[in-house]
């Protein structure tokens, strides 16, 4: 037994990357997630609709932050655009607070705070919840879970598929076949693309039929967001595979990319509740933006103007990550050695060999 322990210890010591993962990652995760794991809502944005509402909302205490009033006819449109967490209006002389139910914790905090104000002798405000009237958790989680599955299939499974090819020696065989690098790349990721798409449809279908998650918006917007997000996820998967020597390393790296997306994307903990020091990490994660698109489309039927930012960010991410993945994948399929910097020409020829010295 002692021999076995010594052998294992030696192997662990030699595998520096795993060792670093085991020692550094828990500390890093604890610090980052310690600051991220907060359900407290520190700020609730309020937009009064009309002058009468503005006068009534002006004295709302913290955590409410009252923004400039708007002239919109429908307070729900204010929430639909994402301009506020709560839209206060006057309906038949009675103040009404419309709460955005798609942000579960913010909506719950707003409801609690408004009820407390009334209980303490403040103005009684009728509370109406938009988009998710019952404040159902499933309605908020299911759209993001679809994204989580996309990132799982796109990053983890794809990276394993490519690394397996390298470990088996078949990547070298592909390199000597008359295939272009992009043929290999597209052929490699296409099945995962299909599987992830089917997974997404199944998850959303079950969410809508079984858990009564609303689907209020245009499915084409969600399809566009999913496409961009999936390209990003597949690109991350291929990038992981290009820097992983084996499947174990690929799994470690994939988990390092998936875990932060679960915890820092706003899927579980509200982004606005996170400490500013870690919140910015959330804004760099593709799932954060997919989550916004999915919830905005499914729950809020958000207009194109509200979707422009998350879709724009996803577009930039998909282009950058896919581009990097293709570049790295190309490098894997190209000759290695001193003169590897040149490119194939349009006919697929490798650069001229090094002249004799």
């Amino acid at each position: 037994m002692w021999a076995m322990i010594v052998k294992e210890m030696r192997q662990v010591r030699r595998d520096r990357r795993t060792l670093a993962m085991m020692i550094v990652m828990p500390i890093l995760l604890l610090v980052v997630f310690g600051y991220a794991a907060r359900f407290d809502v520190s700020e609730i944005r309020v937009v009064p609709v009309g002058d009468a509402a503005a006068a009534g909302a002006a004295n709302l205490p913290a955590p409410f932050t009252v923004l400039d009033a708007t002239d919109d006819a429908d307070p729900v449109d204010v929430l639909r655009r994402g301009d506020a967490d709560v839209a206060v209006a006057v309906d038949g002389g009675q103040p009404v607070a419309w709460v955005d139910g798609s942000n579960l914790f913010t909506a719950q905090a707003a409801t609690r705070s408004l009820s407390a104000i009334a209980a303490q002798g403040g103005p009684a405000i009728e509370i109406r919840t938009a988009f998710n009237p019952d404040l159902a958790t499933s309605a908020v989680l299911v759209p993001g879970l679809g994204g989580l599955i996309l990132i799982f299939v796109g990053s983890l499974v794809t990276s394993l598929g490519v690394v397996r090819e390298r470990q088996a020696g078949t990547l070298e065989q592909l390199a000597v076949m008359p295939l272009r690098a992009r043929d290999v790349f597209v052929g490699k990721v296409a099945p995962y693309f299909v599987v992830a798409t089917v997974d997404l449809l199944v998850v959303l279908g079950i969410g809508v039929t079984l858990f009564d998650v609303p689907f209020a918006g245009d499915p084409w917007w969600l399809a566009l967001g999913s496409l961009l997000f999936l390209f990003t996820a597949l690109g991350i998967g291929v990038l992981i595979s290009t820097v992983s020597a084996n499947q174990g390393q690929a799994i470690q790296l994939a988990l390092m990319t998936v875990l932060p997306q679960v915890l820092l994307s706003g899927l579980i903990f509200p982004l606005t509740s996170m400490a500013a020091g870690v919140r910015w990490i959330g804004y760099l994660l593709p799932l954060t933006w997919f989550n916004v698109v999915a919830k905005d489309v499914m729950l809020k039927d958000a207009p194109a103007s509200a979707l422009a930012l998350p879709l724009g960010v996803l577009t930039v991410m998909s282009v950058v990550v896919s581009g990097l993945a293709v570049w790295r994948f190309n490098r894997d399929l190209r000759p290695a050695g001193p003169a590897r910097t040149s490119d194939h020409d349009s006919a697929g020829r490798d650069p001229a060999p090094v002249a004799a010295t």
């Binding site: 020696g169 000597v176 008359p178 290695a336 050695g337 001193p338 003169a339 590897r340 090094v354 010295t357």
Partner: protein, 289 residues
């Protein structure tokens, strides 16, 4: 004759290690060229440079008349040491993929494949024996009728019968006009090659036909009373000795040196075999030359 592949004074450095040092070789249509060398001699590195998987540090590589490229590799059949088969696909699926990649029709399993492979067409590769896998890799590499076959240790781990069968396939392809470059460290396989390039520690130490490589080299043969003890004494004397039944054969040595190591022995000079010539070449010495 058409030159299908040519390495001209190629050198490959990995960091500070020189893996291949100014090696040259050519493969013509209709011939088998053997790349002979021990493990680590630089055979696979030469093959990888020829295929365009590695850029040489110096020297020139021509594959089918041009620099290695996607176009030239269209006419290449390659069987790597690891065989390059997908273990989770069936034999037929592997063949279909290779055929599609080379733009040819999917082979008809019953008509285009030897019976032994046709019988396992629907078996996943991981369930096949190594010998069958090698035959499958051969069939896949030959499917598009390549002009040049590059085979890296093609019979490694295969029994004598399987090796003979694989060499039959190589000769069939070459008789049909293809050229073949085969790396090996088996002497009996090297003797099946039309020409040899012998590598040792990355350097080309001999080249030519088997007869050229062996030449008029001789070894010293003795018949000691105790061969094991004699081998030990010869080794202690820094000589390369091989047992041959009750006899001991010493390469790259003179009769006088053997007599000094084994006082009382009656050394005789006899013609060297290919293996002994190979060992002599590796030792950098040519006895009797």
């Amino acid at each position: 004759m058409t030159t299908l592949a040519r390495l001209e004074a190629v050198t490959m450095d990995f960091g500070t290690t020189r893996a291949v040092d100014r090696v040259g070789l050519a493969v013509e249509a209709g011939e088998v060229v053997g790349l002979l060398g021990a493990n680590g001699a630089g055979k696979t590195t030469c093959i990888r440079m020829l295929l365009g998987l590695l850029y040489p540090t110096a020297g020139t590589v021509h594959l089918l008349g041009a620099a290695p490229s996607r176009t030239t590799r269209r006419e290449l059949g390659y069987v790597p040491q690891g065989l390059g088969l997908y273990e989770d696909l069936t034999a037929a699926e592997n063949l279909a993929f290779q055929a599609a990649a080379f733009g040819i029709a999917t082979p008809d399993v019953s008509a285009d494949l030897p019976t032994d492979l046709a019988d396992v067409a629907d078996v996943v590769v991981s369930d096949l024996s190594l010998g069958v896998r090698r035959r499958l890799a051969f069939a896949a590499a030959l499917g598009h009728r390549p002009r040049l076959l590059v085979l890296d240790e093609p019979t490694s781990g295969v029994g004598p019968l399987g090796r003979a069968d694989l060499w039959d396939r190589i000769h069939e392809a070459v008789d049909a006009g293809a050229g073949a470059l085969v790396s090996t460290h088996y002497m009996d396989e090297a003797e099946q090659c039309d020409r040899l390039v012998v590598l040792a520690a990355g350097r080309q130490v001999a080249a030519g036909t088997v007869a050229d490589v062996v030449g008029d080299q001789q070894v010293v043969e003795v018949e000691p009373d105790h061969p094991a003890a004699a081998l030990a004494r010869l080794e202690d004397a820094g000589l390369v000795a091989l047992p041959a039944g009750r006899r001991v054969r010493v390469v790259a040595a003179t009769a006088e040196r053997v007599r000094e190591a084994l006082p009382g022995a009656e050394p005789q000079m006899v013609p060297a075999t290919l293996e002994e010539a190979f060992m002599a070449a590796v030792a950098g010495d040519r006895v009797g030359a």
